[in-house]
């Protein structure tokens, strides 16, 4: 019975997503009222089921069956039901329930209302798949869905160029970093014959193969690359503040609460791999601290509240990652839960923050005191000025991706020009007009 409940946490949003998609495809979209009700109840039930299973205090791996099998390769459906996954599943259900309720009024009569809820359900399914997955293949499945829905929701207001460009930037970062996750899956499977979390934990990764220390480092670093993109870690986190151009509710749940914390969740799940590699663990700590420093610094000069909140998220996620690298897993879990809830609240309240400040200042009868001036108090003026300029430019690494993309574009277009010349040579009506030598030149 507990196993059925545990799987139902995931099946509820999945079945709802299928119903909503089919209704829409066959031109029978549900109205706002029914769409909201179904989504709200689906996530409320998922959260209740997760909490219910969590209170039973059991940890187990459930295998409903094989997904597919070819030769010696078998892919099974594995679900890891333990306190870590259930806490995340409950958090996901609760926050998506809140967002679904909030968006009912926020997006009322918006032309993309149904699209928003459909993508939110798909996102919820993706996150639940990642947190309940019992192997890395399933993590990848949910991970990709989260990335795609994230990009599509950033570009939700598709009639403006800004959101679509930022949606594409987010997707570009995700997909390039996901190369790390897929490579880790393949490498782990190739080295150990399995990517199941329970096998890794029970047997201890160190017992596999002969080159385990090296493999653990490589796999750990590949997983870290995957986390860089999803959790907007240094140096690729420039997409995060720009992602705030999506609807406020989705910004809250994606970039304040759930999506950005999937990276730390993956690191927590793959803990045994990092325990066997000092280099990978050290890299996690360094990246985490750099991200926290970068986010804290750049967040201070943001002119808009959503940008400041995005960098605030980045700072906290950086700290969480550093905690995981230092082996403080349960502190990281508490940090994630607290940060996700508070940040969601802050982002949802962001549109009315000016009104609230005004109200507070009127009540106090004076301007609100400035807070959080640690750098101003601790650092000399000259260094402060340098750091200020650094923060305004979003650090030295922000232009690097654009420079690299420019080089890439130039190189590919060069090949394409050569290709076009070849086409003209063989396809032109007067083939004598250009010799092959000229084409090569």
């Amino acid at each position: 019975m507990t196993e059925t409940f545990a799987i139902s946490i995931l099946l509820l949003p999945l079945s709802l997503m299928v119903v909503l998609s089919l209704a829409w495809w066959f031109s029978r979209p549900l109205g706002e009222k029914w769409t909201t009700r179904l989504v709200v109840w689906s996530f409320a039930l998922s959260a209740a089921l997760a909490l219910g299973v969590l209170t039973q205090g059991r940890s187990f791996l459930t295998q409903p069956g094989a997904w597919f099998s070819v030769g010696h390769y078998t892919s099974t459906w594995d679900f890891c039901i333990d306190p870590l996954s259930l806490i995340f599943a409950a958090l996901t259900g609760i926050l998506l329930f809140v967002i679904a309720v909030f968006s009912r009024d926020y997006l009322h009569r918006e032309s993309g209302f149904f699209r928003f809820y459909l993508l939110l359900t798909l996102f919820g399914f993706g996150v639940l798949m990642v947190v309940l997955a019992g192997n890395l293949e399933q993590v990848f499945l949910g991970w990709e869905l989260v990335g795609l829905t994230s990009a599509l929701l950033i570009a939700f207001f598709a009639h403006r160029p800004g959101p679509t460009a930022n949606g594409f930037r987010a997707f570009l970062t995700y997909r390039l970093c996901d190369i790390g996750l897929l490579s880790a899956v393949v490498w782990l499977h190739h080295t150990t014959g399995t990517t199941d979390f329970h096998v890794i934990e029970n047997d201890g990764f160190v017992h596999y193969g002969i080159s385990t220390a090296g493999s653990a480092t490589v796999i750990g670093l590949l997983l870290l690359v995957a986390c860089l993109g999803k959790s907007a870690l240094f140096p690729v986190g420039g997409w995060l503040p720009r992602a705030m151009e999506g609807p406020t509710p989705s910004s809250a749940v994606f970039y304040g609460a759930l999506s950005v914390h999937l990276g730390p969740y993956l690191l927590l799940r793959a803990r045994p791999i990092f325990e066997d590699s000092t280099i990978a663990s050290a890299a996690v700590v360094i990246i985490g601290l750099l991200t926290a420093f970068h986010g804290s610094l750049v967040g201070r000069v943001q002119p808009d509240i959503k940008g400041a909140l995005a960098y605030g998220s980045m700072t906290q996620v950086g700290l969480i990652v550093a905690e995981i690298g230092l082996g403080l897993e349960w502190l990281a879990v508490l940090h994630i839960v607290g940060h996700a809830c508070i940040r969601t609240f802050e982002i949802l309240r962001a549109p009315s923050v000016l009104h609230e400040y005004h109200h507070l200042e009127l009540s106090l009868g004076s301007v609100l005191p400035r807070m959080g001036q640690h750098y101003e108090q601790l650092l000399p003026a000259k260094l402060r000025h340098r750091l200020y300029l650094h923060a305004l430019n979003e650090g030295p690494v922000e232009p690097v991706p654009f420079y690299l993309l420019g080089l890439w574009r130039k190189m590919c277009l060069g090949f394409d020009r050569w290709e076009r010349k070849l086409e003209d040579l063989f396809g032109s009506s007067n083939p004598q007009s250009q010799s092959p030598l000229e084409v090569i030149k």
Binding site: W25, V70, Y73, H159, F168, R175, H190, W408, C412
Partner: protein, 415 residues
């Protein structure tokens, strides 16, 4: 040859003949959609009713779906009755090709499909038809020399001709012009069944020496990387599509060189996915061009998702299914291909991961260019019922087999 494929191909030939006799292109297209739909139903029935010919029926089903979507989403402005006739005949020839392994029959079918396509291409573009004639004509001569010599040493000629037919690097020049300048229905009917890959499985599997297999695998992954890289920067939508198809075909060609069962099944699954998904993807581009009134430049393109939601969704789902969207068969194919190939060619296996990432980036970039950045759209017509029905037929196998892959993998195992 066995009974069911012959029956199915005759049904397609007869459909073509009936369609060609219609008075106007509009009438011909409506009737084409109905007849191709009937053929698809017959092939689906064949899969269920003929257990001993399941694999052939699956291939027939793929060709029928490709034909259905090719005729249903064709633009009236560029399609004449003769084009629809060619599409049906190419479908029939493709099905016959699936059912035989006789070298003479394979050579005849190859020549027939190349000749028929060239004959139709001449009516639409001089440049494309000339390039087609230069490359595919040479390829046909090489194939004939390789097949008819009956010498194992000359099988390398067959491999070379298959590389030309599948537009593998560096023989891809004809294909880009072919995609850019000809009616998409014709492009889809000739390209999407990926007969070159089938020829490969039928003639070359296990026949070439290991070193040749390795070289062909490298060529496959080079093609995939080349296509994926160049697709990311194309300003022309059709040219981007051409590079995407080249890239995906390169992946299938790479998988075809694998000897492990996992990678081999992955290559077959990839062949199935790329066949159906690229047909759907290409035809959504044709549908978009119809609404746009001509070819689309991605640097100037803008659209509105709200005015064409079903078209945008079809574009996204078919495109992403090709490159491994979770829930689609593409993910299973990609997984099997990568997992199987890492054992044999570790570095090439990882290159394959990069290829799928680049292709996914291209598809999302095109989606955001085509369906965003505009308050209103001059072409607010979404998929009409005929087009929506065809796209539904495309999406069903992609996602049904994505969720329940065991059924299809069982059939593919019979190959």
């Amino acid at each position: 040859m066995t009974g069911f494929p012959i029956f199915l191909s005759l049904a397609l030939f007869a459909s073509g003949a009936i369609v060609a006799s219609r008075a106007t292109p509009r009438e011909a297209r409506s009737l084409s959609a109905t007849l191709a739909g009937l053929c698809t139903i017959i092939s689906a029935a064949g899969i269920n009713l003929l257990p001993q010919e399941t694999w052939l029926a699956v291939q027939g089903g793929l060709v029928c779906i490709v034909t259905l979507v090719a005729v249903s989403l064709s633009a009236l402005a560029r399609v004449q009755q003769s084009t629809l006739l060619t599409v049906f005949f190419l479908g029939g020839l493709s099905i016959l090709t699936t059912s035989t392994s006789h070298p003479g029959a394979l050579a005849t079918l190859w020549l027939a499909s190349v000749g028929l396509t060239w004959w139709e291409a001449r009516k639409h573009s001089q440049k494309a038809s000339r390039l087609f004639a230069v490359y595919l004509g040479t390829g046909s001569v090489i194939l004939l020399a390789g097949l008819l010599s009956n010498s194992p040493g000359l099988l390398v000629l067959v491999a070379l001709s298959l590389c030309i037919r599948e537009a593998c690097f560096p023989f891809q020049s004809w294909f880009l012009s072919f995609v850019e300048e000809l009616p998409m229905g014709l492009v889809v009917a000739f390209t999407c069944p990926q007969l070159g890959i089938l020829y490969h499985f039928k003639i070359l599997s296990g026949q070439l020496s290991t070193s040749y297999h390795e070289e062909l695998a490298v060529l496959g992954i080079l093609t995939a990387l080349f296509g994926a890289a160049l697709a990311t920067v194309q300003p022309s939508l059709r040219r981007a599509l051409g590079y995407l198809i080249i890239s995906q075909t390169g992946l299938v060609a790479f998988g075809a060189e694998e000897t492990s069962k996992v990678a081999h099944t992955g290559a077959l699954a990839c062949w199935f996915v790329v066949g159906i998904a690229s047909a759907g993807f290409a035809m959504t581009i044709e549908a978009l061009e119809t609404r746009n009134g001509g070819p689309i430049n991605l640097e100037e393109a803008s659209g509105n998702f709200e005015s064409m939601p079903a078209l945008a969704t079809s574009f996204l789902l078919t495109g992403m299914a090709m490159v491994g969207l979770p829930g689609s068969l593409g993910l299973i194919a990609e997984d099997l291909l990568v997992q199987g190939s890492v054992e044999e060619f570790p570095l090439l296996g990882f290159a394959l991961i990069i290829v799928t990432a680049l292709n996914a980036i291209t598809i999302v970039k095109c989606l955001l260019k085509l369906f965003a950045n505009s308050e209103s759209c001059d072409c607010p017509v979404d998929l009409v019922p005929r087009e929506r029905a065809a796209m539904t037929v495309v999406l069903i196998p992609l996602f049904f087999f994505g969720l329940f892959p065991g059924v299809l993998l069982g059939w593919l195992g019979g190959f």
